[in-house]
């Protein structure tokens, strides 16, 4: 793993309920890039993402985050690795009984010794950075799906991680809100230097913001590179079909 890499996956085999979904995957994510995991429904995007964040136990292989393997980590070592990244789940996973400020403050309460006024200020700052100024007092049920996803990003950023994992950030959003989410990701990447690892199948987002993609099919990586180059010069039939059908659907 070079100093430029923030994540390295080595020989990862993963699945659940006794079923192998991903076989012997290896790739690296460089610091500061927007890295996307692509593939059709059921191709294992979310499974890969959840193995990378240590939510599912890998069957074999290593996932190095900042040089430390999350697969075998336990106790304090695991906590240290978990603090290096934030995660936004597909549905936002905000706590329904807490307002947005409390949702964002929660990791600060648990992991830092910041006084309450500092936590409040920081929570408002994070909400401002995702465009939710003035919504801190709202419950998740009182805001739209797109706003919930933004708030989930703010919560994931609460501890200033250098790495964010996002699971389908644009799914279920209208084109305008989806575009706003893309702008937010690009802005956070450019201004705060955050590295993004994103599972997605939204072609417009992929082409708009991804620096590099891997494409999953049949349990393995069938393409790895710049998405615009892959669209122009597809390396196999699956990649060609993915971009062609995606383009037709977008049209």
């Amino acid at each position: 793993m070079s100093a430029d890499d923030i994540v390295e996956v080595r020989g990862l085999t993963a699945g659940y309920a006794g079923r192998t979904v991903l076989r012997d995957l290896s790739f690296r994510v460089r610091c500061g890039e927007i890295f996307m995991i692509l593939g059709g429904s059921g191709s294992g995007k979310s499974t890969l993402l959840k193995n990378m964040i240590g939510l599912y136990p890998a069957m074999a292989g290593e996932v190095l985050i900042g040089g430390e393997d999350i697969v075998g980590a336990r106790g304090a070592a695991r906590e240290r690795i978990l603090r290096k990244f934030g995660v936004m789940y597909q549905g936002g996973a905000l706590f329904g009984s807490m307002n947005l400020e409390s949702n964002v403050s929660l990791p600060l309460e648990e992991w830092t010794r910041l006084p309450s006024e500092a936590r409040l200020l920081l929570a408002r700052l994070k909400l401002q950075q995702v465009g939710l100024d003035g919504f801190g007092g709202y419950l998740p049920s009182e805001i739209s799906g797109g706003m919930q996803k933004r708030a989930a990003v703010a919560r994931a950023m609460a501890l200033d991680p250098g790495l964010l994992f996002l699971d389908e950030p644009s799914s279920g959003l209208d084109p305008v809100t989806s575009g706003e989410m893309d702008d937010l990701i690009r802005s956070l990447s450019r201004n705060l230097g955050i590295t993004f690892v994103i599972a997605s199948h939204e072609l417009s987002s992929i082409l708009a913001i991804a620096d590099r993609v891997i494409m999953l099919d049949g349990g393995g990586i069938v393409a790895d590179g710049d998405p615009r180059e892959l669209r122009e010069r597809p390396t196999n039939d699956y990649v060609r079909a993915f971009f062609r059908h995606g383009k037709e659907r977008a049209a």
Binding site: C31, R113, L114, P115, D160
Partner: protein
């Protein structure tokens, strides 16, 4: 990487009696937590313009920006200007993008409805809407049950049987155990004082009458409220949150007829059966205690047959029909009235149990008065 822990800590130096703050090192959550109080205290104490020198800062995270914003707010609040110097351009650029006025620590404005008169009106209209919905529910459920009586084939028997199984046969162990122990407790408590008067054989009468007329139906209904009523509320509440109830409505299916009526019918059917079982278990508990204090079973059975009339069992069973309808109905109503979010399901479940038990006691009191007046 931004999230790595610092190798060094931030240092704060307060100079010129609080007019100049000099930060060096990293400004992240750990170092800011250590110097937050001291920095803001200095900003409060000093006079004249506040100079914040960040020339020695090599990293500024969210907590650092929060500290700088708080310092600016504190200085401006005391009529002082704040000058930020030396912050590296990449951090300065970020700091300048923050709308500090909107981050102020003042509490967020209350999100009420505008004044206490409006608040009272809002609460009153909310209650009125609740009562209306509850009345409509009772009417719709009664109409649904009558319609089902006229057209029994409309009952989805397979689903209904599952509800009966869950509410009825699955509840047998807990209802039996609680009733048996209730009989044991009453017999033990009554046997000693009654023995002093030489009438301890009448403990059998006491247990039999208490279990059939009062405790059998009440204990069964309370167990049902905690077990089945809450399950109905949670299940239907989750369906409401997941928009399954909305899906039923848009398919033209009445949620009350589809979800509540089969459950209320199940409650009406299983509660009397469980109540008979609870009566028997409670009396058995009493008899076991009496056998332990040396009464032969034949004597006890003789006493029991003389003490217990069919009217006593009927008095308990009549109540149990109503208890079953109330427990199941309240569970379904609370489920259908569930608000948004997972917490709402918890609220609906709690309210179903509390309301169910309250109504059971109220109904029981009404029955006591009615039975007394008609000499039943």
């Amino acid at each position: 990487m931004a999230g790595d822990r610092p190798a060094e800590t931030a240092t704060l130096r307060v100079e010129d009696g609080g007019s100049r703050l000099r930060f060096t090192g990293r400004l992240d959550d750990e170092t800011v937590a250590a110097c937050w109080g001291e920095a803001l205290g200095a900003a409060d104490r000093g006079r004249g313009a506040l100079l914040v020198d960040c020339a020695g800062v090599d990293y500024c995270g969210g907590a650092g920006f929060a500290l700088l914003a708080a310092l600016e707010e504190a200085a401006v609040g005391r009529g002082r200007a704040m000058e930020l110097r030396g912050l590296a351009p990449r951090f300065r650029e970020l700091y300048d993008t923050i709308d500090r006025a909107k981050l102020r620590l003042a509490p967020a404005p209350p999100r009420g409805h505008g004044g206490w008169v409006a608040e009272v009106g809002f609460v009153a209209t909310g209650r009125a809407a609740d009562w209306r919905a509850e009345t409509e529910f009772v009417g719709a459920t009664a109409a649904g049950l009558l319609s089902l009586a006229r057209h029994p084939r409309r009952l989805r028997v397979r689903e209904w049987w599952k509800i009966v199984e869950k509410a009825g046969s699955d509840a047998l162990p807990i209802v039996g155990l609680i009733s048996f122990l209730t009989g044991v407790i009453i017999a033990f408590q009554a046997a000693m004082p009654m023995r002093q008067f030489g009438v301890d054989i009448f403990v059998v009468n006491l247990v039999a009458l208490a279990m059939t007329r009062e405790l059998g139906p009440i204990m069964t209904a309370i167990v049902l409220a905690g077990r089945t009523g809450s399950a109905f509320a949670a299940e239907i509440g989750t369906m409401k949150v997941n928009e399954e109830v909305a899906a039923l409505t848009t398919m033209g299916l009445d949620p009350v007829r589809f979800l509540a009526v089969p459950r209320v019918l199940a409650g009406i059917v299983v509660t009397p059966l469980l109540t008979v079982y609870a009566m028997a278990a409670g009396i058995a508990g009493g008899l076991v205690v009496m056998m332990l204090i040396d009464f032969p079973l034949s004597t006890l059975m003789n006493q029991l047959s003389g003490a217990l009339k069919l009217q006593d069992i009927a008095a308990g069973l009549i109540k149990s029909f109503f208890f079953g309808a109330v427990v199941a109905g309240v569970g379904c109503l609370r489920g259908l009235r569930t608000g948004a979010g997972p917490a709402a399901v918890g609220d609906a479940t709690t309210r179903s149990v509390v309301t169910g038990i309250f109504l059971i006691v109220v109904l029981d009191a009404i029955f006591a008065v009615v039975y007394y007046n008609i000499d039943f």
